[in-house]
């Protein structure tokens, strides 16, 4: 069992870690900025630092934070929903659904019509994947069933993406944008992306009060209902929130895999399975994880954040499978 002191320090430690990573994310780059210069830049007292921070690093940092929080919490919610610790938006094909939606819209050249087009297309694509997985899981959400559904969906949506790439007459710029989705990256994020991702904050806040009923649900839907949880409403909210969170994250950063699997898992090992603690910690932990992966990708020169999360996530997933067996 987790010692009580871990519960006491987990939240402040996670916040401190997130703060440090956020500060580092603002400080490092082609031109290093000291904490003092960061403050001056943010207050427009140092114009060069202000330009770097306000135009490049601050939006990138904020997008990273929101993407990480969204993907990790979405994974946590799916694990509670399916009562399966291997469920995550990436493995179930929800991320691919969001990316395929976005890719089709970019391919058709509609992405620039309005800043809402891309997130909406990603939500529609993610919803498609979620509904297919739900249909399959109705007859029992065993690990094998869920993962195979994910394999099939990822293959199908991958085919959609390849079709767009191969058969649309695309400009170089559109092709580059599509590749961006497939690799998942946080480069050149602007305030428009911050704005696009900002509903993540609302969805994250809406998850907060669901923590306790999620504890009951994760031990069985009928069991939870017998204890007074309106499971129909709860499950609907959980699905809607997790799908929207994944889709928005995908709309601004492309396919960034494994965050929804790794972060809730590590935190569960650390503080136990209770969602009242896990929901806020996963939001913070996910943000910190993606910030850290983005820092690695920046220091490794050209390594996209999606590649970094996959390099960490792939072996982690194999370790998990071995542990479960």
């Amino acid at each position: 069992m987790t010692p009580p002191w871990v519960h006491r320090v987990a939240f402040p430690v996670a916040l401190l870690l997130l703060g440090l990573l956020a500060l580092t994310s603002l400080a490092v780059g082609d031109m290093r900025l000291s904490p003092a210069r960061i403050v001056s830049g943010l207050l427009h007292r140092d114009e060069l630092a202000a330009t770097i921070l306000w135009n490049i690093r601050l939006p990138r940092m904020l997008v990273s934070v929101m993407v990480g929080a969204a993907l990790a919490s979405s994974g946590l919610v799916m694990q509670a929903y399916f009562r399966n610790s291997l469920a995550s938006p990436g493995l179930l094909g929800v991320t691919s659904g969001g990316a395929a939606g976005a890719v089709v819209i970019i391919g058709l050249g509609w992405a620039s019509a309005s800043i809402f087009v891309l997130p909406v297309a990603a939500v529609v694509g993610a919803m498609f994947s979620t509904s297919v997985v739900i249909m399959l899981a109705r007859r029992g959400a065993s690990t094998e069933r869920l993962l195979l559904a994910g394999v099939a969906l990822n293959a199908l949506l991958g085919a959609v993406t390849s079709y767009v790439l191969a058969n649309f007459t695309l400009s170089y710029e559109r092709n580059a944008r599509i590749l961006f989705w497939l690799l998942g990256g946080l480069e050149d994020r602007t305030w428009e992306h911050v704005f696009m991702a900002s509903p993540i904050l609302v969805a994250g806040a809406l998850l907060w009060p669901l923590g306790r009923p999620m504890d009951l649900l994760s031990l069985g839907s009928r069991e939870a209902q017998s204890l007074g949880v309106d499971t129909k409403r709860l499950r609907r909210s959980m699905l809607a929130l997790s799908t929207v969170l994944t889709a928005l994250a995908t709309a601004v950063a492309g396919t960034v895999g494994f965050v929804g699997l790794i972060v809730p898992h590590l935190l569960r090992l650390l503080v136990g399975p209770e969602h009242r603690r896990l929901v806020p910690l996963t939001l913070i932990g996910g943000a910190a994880f993606v910030l850290a992966c983005d820092l690695i990708s920046r220091s490794a020169g050209g390594l996209r954040v999606g590649i970094v999360t996959s390099l960490i996530g792939g072996p982690f997933f194999l370790w998990l499978l071995r542990r479960q067996a």
Binding site: N84, D215, G220, R222, D230
Partner: protein, 237 residues
């Protein structure tokens, strides 16, 4: 007023036209061969499975009771609990208080009653089948619900814990609650106030065990011959 009334309940392919009523303070058993519809009837009675016909608790139609209030009025124990996550035994038992403000009232007492105090901080997913069942019964006890519906609570338990669970059920009914549980041990059924017999999804008989569990019925429903003999009698020291 009855504590539980089921009127002409049917669930396609599982139970047909079942009607039964239990008076408050009754310790009742639900018996029948495998696949006779016991679990289905318990879930219908608990308001967890949609069925045609009606279910009422203390004269109130279940469909008209809001779900949070249902959590205070009836407790249900599943036949087999599946735990994916390692919640502690204590936290699972405390979930029984969800509909009553999520306090921890009576949790330690229930842990003690079900002999779980030593396991309180163990993860539930590492317990044996019998231990898990005791956790689920403890969770049902802390709800303080006046109607307790348990699906085969005794099946995975060793003799001592089985007798203890029966003793707790009896204590609850003396305090005014009503307990209905399914069981396969027909000898244990003779200790109850009331027995409901299901056969192929239909109600075959209901009433006091000595009137209902006749050799003819046992032969017809279970295909066993009843024989009176001096066997082993177990009781708590």
């Amino acid at each position: 007023m009855t504590a539980l009334t089921v009127t002409n309940a049917s669930v396609s392919g599982r139970i047909t036209d079942v009607s039964m009523a239990l008076a408050p303070g009754m310790l009742a058993g639900l018996v029948g061969p495998n696949g006779s519809g016991k679990s289905t009837l318990l879930q219908v009675a608990a308001g967890l499975l949609p069925a045609t016909g009606g279910v009422s608790w203390s004269g109130r139609e279940v469909d008209e009771i809001l779900i949070p209030e249902r959590g205070r009025l009836a407790a249900w124990v599943p036949q087999e609990a599946r735990f994916e996550f390692g919640f502690s035994v204590r936290s699972v038992v405390a979930q029984g208080r969800y509909a009553r403000g999520d306090d921890e009232c009576g949790v330690d007492e229930a842990l003690q009653q079900l002999d779980l105090t030593a396991l309180a901080h163990r993860p539930v997913n590492r317990l044996s089948g019998g231990e898990r069942q005791r956790v689920m019964i403890a969770r049902a006890l802390v709800t303080e619900a006046p109607l307790q519906l348990w699906d085969e609570p005794l099946a995975p338990l060793d003799p001592r814990h089985g007798i203890e669970v029966l003793t707790h059920a009896r204590r609850l009914t003396r305090a005014g609650s009503t307990v209905l549980f399914s069981l396969h041990d027909l000898r244990a059924a003779y200790c109850l106030d009331f027995v409901v017999v299901l056969h192929q999804g239909r109600l075959r008989a209901a009433g006091p065990p000595e009137e209902v569990l006749t050799p003819e019925l046992l032969m017809e429903v279970f295909g066993v011959r009843a024989k009176q003999s001096l066997g082993l009698t177990l009781e708590l020291p």
